[in-house]
């Protein structure tokens, strides 16, 4: 399946290669570089590139291209999904997945890749198993290893590999037993010129950090499970139980993992927690344009809207912007024409606004492209869908764990179509809406 893997950095250098079958010359990547050159944006490189003898399947994460070389038919998603899993594993091991981190840990990386694929077919991809095979590097361990000459390679076959619960290792011990669950929700919305919602959907995940001794069997139930329209689970979740009772029953992996991700469909009315009032006009013949933007909270159930960040791609005709924010700071990049305004927290008493003028290219006609506006924000302690965890129970172990549930809401992709005064065209604002609840 996967023949070789090349890691390419942003400047187009191959800084790591690994082969699982016969060695494939790195010149195969030239086809990739060609495609990279053709693409205007880094993310526009096609994920699958056919070459005369091979196929290159790549993913872009953390500004590193992971290029897998394939020789024969294989489901492309299989490879893509695997590459993402590799990145996740690196991130898990080294905290970050950057070129420097990979170079610094090149031996661990190699050992990991060796375990993850055998003859190009995935072998061990569960992070719990891998951690038993290869201990993640920590400063203490590297010190100890240097002194004692011991290794960071496990000597035993990971128990998970053979047990019924392959995602959990046995013999887990903690002095403080804790289980934390973060309910994080994202809103994706498209709003038309008049402020009415075209589409809005909520995507949520429940990320868990479980540090419990032994083999705990957890059940998590919701107050309103019917809200969840479409769900996908970590393999540990017992699907039948969910089908029958809408209860999440699972033996958790050790450490951090994503328990489930869900979708709340647009059928349920999604309340948009923020509104934007805007007035962006260009006058024909004048080299000036007016810019006026006001933000306000909406349906936040008394929770503060925080970390608000507005960004907008202004038309190419705009030379500069001279704006005056009522709070926060703004920057305008005259090259990329990207305006970004770091608003911070929205005070409902005094709504933040950004007003001023834009100077246009002299003599140029009125821009007819539409500025797009992205909004990022967080709202603490609110789940926008109204999802509530009812209770968390533990079976199978005697001790009493500490349990914590945190709700978060974030903005996903948020889009607006706005009527421009003096113009008879639509323009689209795309904004990201992030709400965080605890």
């Amino acid at each position: 399946m996967i023949h070789s893997l090349f890691l390419v950095n942003a400047s187009g250098d191959i800084f790591l290669e690994k082969h699982w079958k016969s060695v494939v010359s790195r010149s195969v990547c030239d086809y990739f570089f060609e495609a990279q050159e053709r693409a205007t944006e880094p993310e526009n490189v096609p994920p699958v590139i056919p070459t005369p003898h091979h196929y290159l399947i790549s993913v872009l994460r953390h500004r590193i291209y992971f290029v897998a070389v394939i020789q024969s038919e294989v489901p492309p998603l299989f490879v893509i999904e695997f590459l993402h899993r590799v990145v996740d594993t690196f991130q898990d091991y080294f905290g970050v997945c950057t070129e420097a981190a990979i170079k610094d840990n090149v031996v661990v990386v190699y050992e990991l890749l060796e375990e993850m694929l055998d003859n190009g077919f995935p072998l061990a991809t569960e992070s719990n198993i891998l951690k038993e095979l290869i201990k993640p590097p920590t400063i203490l361990r590297t010190m100890v290893n240097t002194i004692t000459g011991s290794t960071n390679v496990g000597e035993q076959l990971p128990t998970g590999q053979l047990s019924v619960v392959p995602w959990r290792r046995t013999g887990v011990k903690y002095t403080n037993n804790e289980a934390y669950f973060d309910v994080v929700e994202e809103i994706d919305a498209i709003i038309d010129k008049s402020g009415s919602t075209i589409t809005a959907e909520i995507q949520g995940v429940i990320d868990a950090c479980v540090k419990l001794t032994g083999m705990p069997d957890l059940t998590l139930s919701f107050m309103n499970p019917r809200l969840l329209d479409d769900v996908s689970f970590h393999p540990c979740v017992r699907f039948k139980r969910w089908e029958a009772e809408r209860i999440l029953s699972f033996i958790p992996p050790d450490g951090n993992f994503r328990l489930l991700s869900y979708h709340v469909s647009s059928q349920n009315l999604v309340a948009i927690p923020v509104y934007v009032k805007h007035n962006i006009t260009f006058r024909e013949g004048s080299s000036q344009g007016r810019f006026d933007l006001t933000l306000g909270p909406k349906q936040t159930m008394g929770k503060a809207v925080e970390s608000v960040l507005v960004s907008s791609q202004l038309p190419r005709g705009v030379l500069n912007a001279n704006l005056n924010p009522s709070q926060g700071t703004y920057t305008f990049d005259p090259v990329t024409k990207l305006l970004s305004w770091d608003v911070g927290k929205i005070n409902p008493q005094k709504l933040p606004s950004l007003k001023g003028t834009m100077s246009l290219q002299a003599g140029a006609s009125k821009p007819d492209e539409n500025p797009t506006i992205n909004i990022q924000f967080k709202i603490q302690q609110m789940a926008i869908s109204g999802l509530k965890v009812n209770r968390l129970d533990m079976y199978g172990e005697k001790y009493k764990p500490f349990k914590g549930i945190k709700y978060m809401t974030k903005a996903g992709k948020f889009q607006r179509c706005v009527w421009i005064a003096g113009s008879d065209r639509y323009y689209t604002n795309r904004a990201s809406l992030i709400i965080v609840t605890s």
């Binding site: 079958k21 016969s22 205007t40 944006e41 993310e43 994920p47 699958v48 056919p50 196929y55 790549s58 394939i70 024969s72 038919e73 294989v74 489901p75 492309p76 998603l77 299989f78 893509i80 999904e81 695997f82 993402h84 610094d104 840990n105 031996v107 661990v108 990386v109 190699y110 060796e114 055998d118 003859n119 077919f121 995935p122 072998l123 991809t125 000459g149 290794t151 960071n152 076959l157 590999q161 053979l162 019924v164 392959p166 498209i190 589409t199 019917r226 479409d230 996908s232 970590h234 393999p235 017992r238 039948k240 089908e243 029958a244 991700s261 791609q313 038309p315 190419r316 492209e369 795309r430």
Partner: protein
Amino acid sequence: MSASSAFNDEKGGSSSVGEPEYGHDPASGGIFSSDYKRHDDLKEMLDSNKDSLKLEAMKRIVAMIARGKNASDLFPAVVKNVACKNIEVKKLVYVYLVRYAEEQQDLALLSISTFQRGLKDPNQLIRASALRVLSSIRVTIIVPIMMLAIKEAASDMSPYVRKTAAHAIPKLYSLDPEQKDQLIEVIEKLLADKTTLVAGSVVMAFEEVCPERIDLIHKNYRKLCNLLIDVEEWGQVVIINMLTRYARTQFLNPNINESLLEEGGGGEKTFYGSDEDEDEDEEEKEKKAEVAAMAKRKPYVMDPDHRLLLRNTKPLLQSRNAAVVMAVAQLYFHLAPKAEVGVIAKALVRLLRSHSEVQYVVLQNVATMTIKRRGMFEPYLKSFYIRSTDPTQIKVLKLEVLTNLANETNISTILREFQTYIKSMDKDFVAATIQAIGRCATNIGEVRDTCLNGLVQLLSNRDELVVAESVVVIKKLLQMQPEKHSDIIKHMAKLTDNIQVPMARASILWLIGEYCEHVPKIAPDVLRKMAKSFTNEEDIVKLQIINLAAKLYLTNSKQTKLLTQYVLNLAKYDQNYDIRDRARFIRQLIVPTEKSGALSKYAKKLFLALKPAPVLESPFKDRDHFQLGSLSHLLNAKAGGYQELPDWPEAAPDPSVRNVEVPEWTKCSSREKRKEKKVEKPFYSDSEGESGPTESADSESDSASGSESGSGSEESGSGSESEESEEGSESEEEEEEEEEKDKKKKKKELKKPVPETESEQSSEEEDRKIKRKSKQRKSDSESESDEDEESESESSQSESEDSESEIEVKKKKKTAEMKPPSKPVKKETKKEKKEMSLLDLDDFEPAPSPQVTPVNTFLSNSLVTDLEGLSLSDSVLSPATIAPSSVLKNYELLHRITGEGLSVEYCFSRQPFSPDANMVAVQMQFTNSATSDTKNLHMEDVKLQSGMRVKEFPEIELLSAGETAMAVMGIDFCDSTQAANFQLCTHTRKFFVSIQPPVGELMRPIFLTENEFKKEQGQLMGMNEITEKLTLDAKCRNEHAIVQRVTTAANLSRVPCGSDKECRFAGRTVTSSSLVLVTVATKEEGAAQLTVNCEKMVIGTMLVKDILLALTQ
């Protein structure tokens, strides 16, 4: 620290001069002393006695390999360390070996003996890693050694080693394809492996080595389906893809009737119509066609195995792994009946939230799907709306999907959305949008004019690209109905002054030329302008100018003769030979000269022929002949190693190949068995002369139970052990069964003639069968002793057994009426044997032999008790069927005082609630003890937990003083004991009331035979089983009392039971139809044991409490 410092050293060194590169060449290596020294250094470290130094050296070498530097000259120094004790050094040496062994084959051989030793190591990890490295070293000389190692590992105790063996198979195959036959044997063996760990890897090996040997799958098909959910995610992808292909060869097209309707006989008829001259032939063909049509008309019944596959893959749509979801989606797309394909849409839409690479692949597949099954994705239209943050390639794909989804009803929404896209700053995307609008306009006639108008407006857009693209699209649209749109053509003619994009200019010129009659005044003027700028135009524009000139010359030679001459003269001396050629050709054709031949007469016809409008097609049309989700589909070209998705077979191949009961390797025996199977069925399924469909329907229910066992194992995660033990006992059971059968058959022959139609055949068959069976028995025992580990496809076995036993039960009932049964041979209850704890699965241990025996006795015991049941059945069945109406308990809903004279009582009538089978019927009795009449008695404001539903009772209009009335309402409690709250309203008052069901009322009785009961109970072990010891109430020590109390407490029915020490009850919960099984086993002195098996643990626990209470008080 050491690792990083080592790497930094290395990096520092290489960045200065890139020294290691010189290491390639031994000659140059000598010259650059520093480099020479460096490698010397490493060699020294490798030769030292200290592990830490070796480790350090190996780490540096691995870092070199990682950066693609050549480290091959260190081979001799490294290979020495292959036997190093330090496990990390060892691993890194392995890494090095695998990388360079191919280049240095002779030296690599030095390491082989170490691996061979490793293969015998008691530690499974070492065995596995030795095999991994040994098989990864691509040295042809060791092929025989590898072969041997693989064979050995394939029957290793540890499933992890067996998995490694499966991985090694394709490695060896790629090294030496001549080993194929031997490898297939190993694959066959591993396919029979029943651990989930091995399943994915061996199917992978199967796909790489022998994907054409689909026959190897037959016996393992059901097992694979049932194990699927427990296999690791990567294995799932491979297995699902393989099973898709398998199903295409083995089952009938589930959409066969629809495709018949769609395609109709039309195609066939015209085909036959064409060869009328061969009358005979035609008649024959017609006959055939008729026969085929007849066959098609026969109602399609899905093969139970087909259903099994669909059912067992469906939960995987919820997988977190996009590849798994996609695999299931393509399986459904290719295999499921049309009505069921819809389920995949939601999951695929979910994937659109993933990484952009995943989106890219998913959208490609969705685009193909939308062409075939548009309706599937229509509800999700908005999910394909484009966001400015999407990468261009994603935008274009989404556009494609939106275009495919467009129809009369949603086109206005889509067009509005498109309008916003045109304003985008991403020009490629804008161009694609305009193309999409064009396609919508051609596909949907209603909006053609709107689209055209919109596009014409775009012509005044400031962006030239937009205008150009619009022109191209408009040209295509105009071709469909040119006469209506001469003003648009005029408008476009004006554009030639401004527009510079060659393609657009060419399009305009072509349009004017083509429809010059519609614009007779403008056309010559355009030509005049063009002639002026001819020399500065691009080639495609020049060609079109020549074309235009020629067309005008033919229609309006008066005005344009000179112009044409001029243009042709210019073209004559053009740099481009195409243009020169074209000019020469056209001049000959249109300008009549003496030399010009007959062709010029037809010049008008040649140039002004009616041109058919172009069809704007999706590039994804017809891509679905590639298996969706595959690389080939994505590239729309066959990739190496792509396995063609076969067409559905005309007639289904024999389905019985999948119910092999014993591993038989010879063809002849399997054929024999197949025959036997065929005879068996009609024989056993007495009375109803069974035909095709019913038969398969019958077996469908079997397979359902089979899959239940599979999914049950998923739930508890301990399935395979019980399967294993079951399996171990299977052959023995069979023997017992046979004996029994023989007995019965004799009985039958003596006492009761078997149904007339089949009697002859059956008696004959019997004899034959007995013989055959005994043969088989021999082979059974042989195979068992041979291969302890050898697994059979257990699910299929249990299934076929089920069907047998079911039929047996039927028969038993019959015979029971006829004659008294024989006495039981032995009796014993070893039920405890089946209780296995949830997590102690250790699937790699061979089934220990002592375990087999007790299970065996248990199973055979059940058969014996079955026999006994024959005698009891009459008496036992009766109490079960008694409707315990006398014991219905009344509850008070509204007291006389609070109700101001109105009192309401209710009871759970235990009757099926006819309007909705999922509701519990609640019978209410209203008594009006007040002095005045009560009117308009009805309910209001029902407050329910989510999921619960209520069917209100009909309003009682008048309840006179002192009278009573009855009403029935239905409540769906969703299998919970949550109360249903509502208001009871009269014409004057409202009362808040609530109905809370005792758990025993949430179920309805079902009839099970003892066999079924035991089987079901076997599947509800572990967490689903609750056992409680109790002391029976003094008044309740006889069977009758127990039955009465239990049936009062819970709406269950009695299951016939051979033993008088045990009472069994069965029911299903009303909403979810989960089984509820209750067993009360009595012992001495009123001691008893209560066992409740129920999938729903909450219900089980509550039920135990209630029944305990009922029995002890």
